[in-house]
C-alpha cells in the first residue's frame, strides 16, 4: 500500500511540476549550443552546473562591459581586455586600473578558456568562474569589494531583470554573477585562423612557402611548450626571461612557496599572438622579434630554467622571418571581429 501510494505521489508530483511550469511565469531560457571543432579534447570547464543560455551569456557580456563593476565606475573588464587585441590590452605593458593605479603584470588574452585549468600568470586562480574575483577586487585594477558590488547590482532594476531572465528570479548573488561572466567567457572560442583552415584542409587554403618554413621551425623549436592545437601546454615554466629587481616578481613561487617554482610563469598561447603585444608576464617586449632575440641569445639561466630552453633556441634571421610569417597565420580575424563579443554601451 505504501509503495503504491509513493508511486501515485511521484506521478502526481511530476504532473504538478509539468503543469506548474506552464502556469507560474518562470521565464524560459534559450539554450545556447557552443560549436567546437570535433578534434579538440573535452573542455575542463564543467558546464553541467552552469549550462549555457542566451540570457546567461547576454548577462555575462553586459557585466563584462559594465564599468559599474569597479569602485568609481571607471573601469570594466573590457577596459583592459580589448577584443581587437584578442582580449589583451593593446600597447600596455602592465595592467592599470581605477584612479590611475598600476598593477604588476600584463593583461592576459582571453580565448579558449574552457580548456584552461589554472588562470593568471602564476596559475594562482583555479577556476574560470572564480577568476574575475581577482581583477574586480584588486585595488590596482577595479578596486571593488565583492559585497559592495553585489549590493550595487541588487539595487539596479535593470540588473534584477537581467538576472531574472538568465536564472529565473531577480536574486542577484555573486555565484550568479560569476556564472554569467563564465558563460560569456566560455563562448570566446578562437579556432578560425588561417592555420586552422590549413589543418582542416579547407579548399584553396595553403601555407605560403615562408609560412610553411615557419611552421617547420615552430614544430622543431617551439611546439614542445606551445603545444598544438592550443599553442600552449598550460604549464608553468621559467623560460629564461631575466629577473627584474624593480618588479621582484617571483612567479609561481608566490603561490606554492616552493623555491623550485621561482620565476615560473604560465606558457601563453601563441594564437593571436601578433595582435596581442606586448609580451611576457611583465609586457617588457613590444615586438615579437625581441622575443625571438631573447630565446636566441638573451636568456638568464638561473636554477629553475626549463630544461627545454636551457641551451637557448638559436634562430637564424631567416628562421625568425619565417616564424613571424607563420605566427601571422594564427591570427583569427573572425574571432577579433565577432559581433557577439563586441563592446556594448551601458546606459544605466
Amino acid at each position: 500500500m505504501t509503495r503504491k501510494a509513493i508511486y501515485i505521489l511521484a506521478a502526481f508530483s511530476l504532473w504538478l511540476f509539468i503543469a506548474g511550469r506552464g502556469t507560474h511565469h518562470i521565464p524560459a531560457t534559450d539554450p545556447y549550443i557552443l560549436r567546437l571543432p570535433d578534434s579538440l579534447p573535452r573542455p575542463v570547464y564543467d558546464f553541467s552546473k552552469n549550462p549555457l543560455t542566451k540570457q546567461g551569456i547576454a548577462l555575462g557580456r553586459y557585466l563584462f562591459y559594465d564599468p559599474k563593476l569597479s569602485l568609481d565606475s571607471s573601469v570594466s573588464c573590457g577596459f583592459c581586455h580589448q577584443q581587437f587585441a584578442a582580449f589583451g590590452h593593446f600597447d600596455h605593458a602592465i595592467s592599470h586600473g581605477i584612479l590611475g593605479r598600476m598593477g604588476t603584470r600584463s593583461v592576459p588574452t582571453l580565448f579558449n578558456l574552457i580548456w584552461q585549468k589554472d588562470f593568471m600568470w602564476d596559475g594562482g586562480v583555479n577556476h574560470l568562474e572564480i577568476q574575475p574575483l581577482t581583477p574586480i577586487t584588486d585595488e590596482n585594477e577595479m578596486g571593488m569589494e565583492l559585497s559592495a558590488l553585489i549590493k550595487r547590482l541588487q539595487g539596479n532594476a535593470g540588473y534584477r531583470q537581467r538576472f531574472k531572465a538568465a536564472f529565473g528570479t531577480e536574486e542577484v548573488t555573486s555565484q550568479r554573477m560569476f556564472r554569467a561572466l563564465a558563460q560569456f567567457m566560455a563562448t570566446m572560442i578562437s579556432f578560425e585562423s588561417k592555420y586552422d583552415s590549413v589543418m582542416r584542409k579547407e579548399p584553396g587554403v595553403v601555407f605560403t612557402a615562408e609560412e610553411r618554413g615557419g611552421y617547420r621551425t615552430f614544430q622543431q623549436k617551439c611546439a614542445a611548450c606551445h603545444k598544438e592545437p592550443f599553442f600552449t601546454d598550460f604549464s608553468m615554466r621559467n623560460n629564461g626571461l631575466s629577473y627584474l629587481s624593480s618588479m621582484n616578481d617571483v612567479g609561481r613561487m608566490k603561490i606554492t612557496n616552493n623555491t623550485a617554482d621561482y620565476l615560473k610563469f604560465k606558457v601563453p598561447s601563441l594564437r593571436n599572438v601578433l595582435v596581442s603585444a606586448p609580451y611576457m608576464h611583465d609586457g617588457r617586449f613590444f615586438d615579437i622579434f625581441q622575443v625571438f632575440a631573447m630565446y636566441d641569445h638573451g636568456q638568464e639561466k638561473g636554477n629553475t630554467i626549463d630544461p627545454l630552453v636551457k641551451d637557448g633556441i638559436p634562430l637564424s634571421e631567416k628562421e625568425q622571418r619565417q616564424l613571424y610569417m607563420f605566427l601571422n597565420t594564427l591570427t583569427d580575424r573572425k574571432f577579433l571581429a565577432n559581433k557577439e563579443f563586441s563592446e556594448i554601451l551601458i546606459a544605466d
Partner: protein
Amino acid sequence: MRPDGKPSGCFFLRTFGIMNRLLLLLSLFTCKILSAQTLQLNIRHEVSGKPMLLDSTSYLNAMGETFSISVFKYYLSNFSLTTQKGQKIILPAAYFLISEDSAASKKIILKQLPAGTYSSISFMIGVDSIMNFSGAQGGALDPVHGMFWTWNSGYIMAKLEGTSPVTKHPNHVLQFHIGGYRAPHITQRTVTLELPRPLVIQRGQTVAVTLAADAASWFGEPFKISFREYAGFMSPGTVADRIADNYQHMFSVKGL
C-alpha cells in the same frame, strides 16, 4: 487546471482531491522520518577559559605576550556522529561560517539525524578540498564573506585578527588568515569530541549541545607562536599548518 485556465475535467478534479490528501499525509510522514530529529550546537568563544570579548579585552598568549581580538571566524563542515555501538552516521553536506560578532552564526542546526544514542561528534574545521576548486559557490561559501583568497584560490578556513603591542606591524596589527588545501600545506583539520555522557536523541526531538572554542589554543600547543616572530600569516604555508594543528584542539564539550 490547464494552462488556459479552464478546469481540466472531472477526472482530474476528483483525483486531485484524493491525491492532495495523500500528498499532505505522505509529506508530513516523510518529513518526520527524515528531518524531525535535529541537533543544535551552541558555540561559545573563549580565550584561556574566559568569555571572548572583541576589541575591549586583553589576553595573554602562551609566550606571555598581550593581545586583543577583533575578528574571530572559521568554517565548520562535514559533520558526523558516532553511535554508542560505533556506527558512524555521516550527516548531509553543510557548511557553516561561525563568527564571534554574529550570535546567529554560533547556533548551528544539524538536520536529518536518525534517532539514536550517540557517543561522539566529529566535524571538520575548514572547507573540504573539492569545494576549494569547484568554482563560484553560494551560501556560507559565497566569497562575499571575505573568506576566499582572490590571488591564490582557496578558502580561508579560519581567521583571527586583532592587535598586540609586541608586533612591529603598523598599528600593531595581528592578522592570521589560515588556509591551504593542496599538499604539502593542507589546513583542514578534523575534530572528534567524545561526549561526556551518551546523547540520546529520540524520534522528533531537538537536542542541544554546547561547545566552547578557545582562541588561545591557536598560539599555544603544540606549537607556541610568538607575535614578535609572527604577527600574521596570510597564505598557505608551514606557519598556517602549525596554527591549524594548534586550533584543532580549540573545541571542548561544555554541556548536553
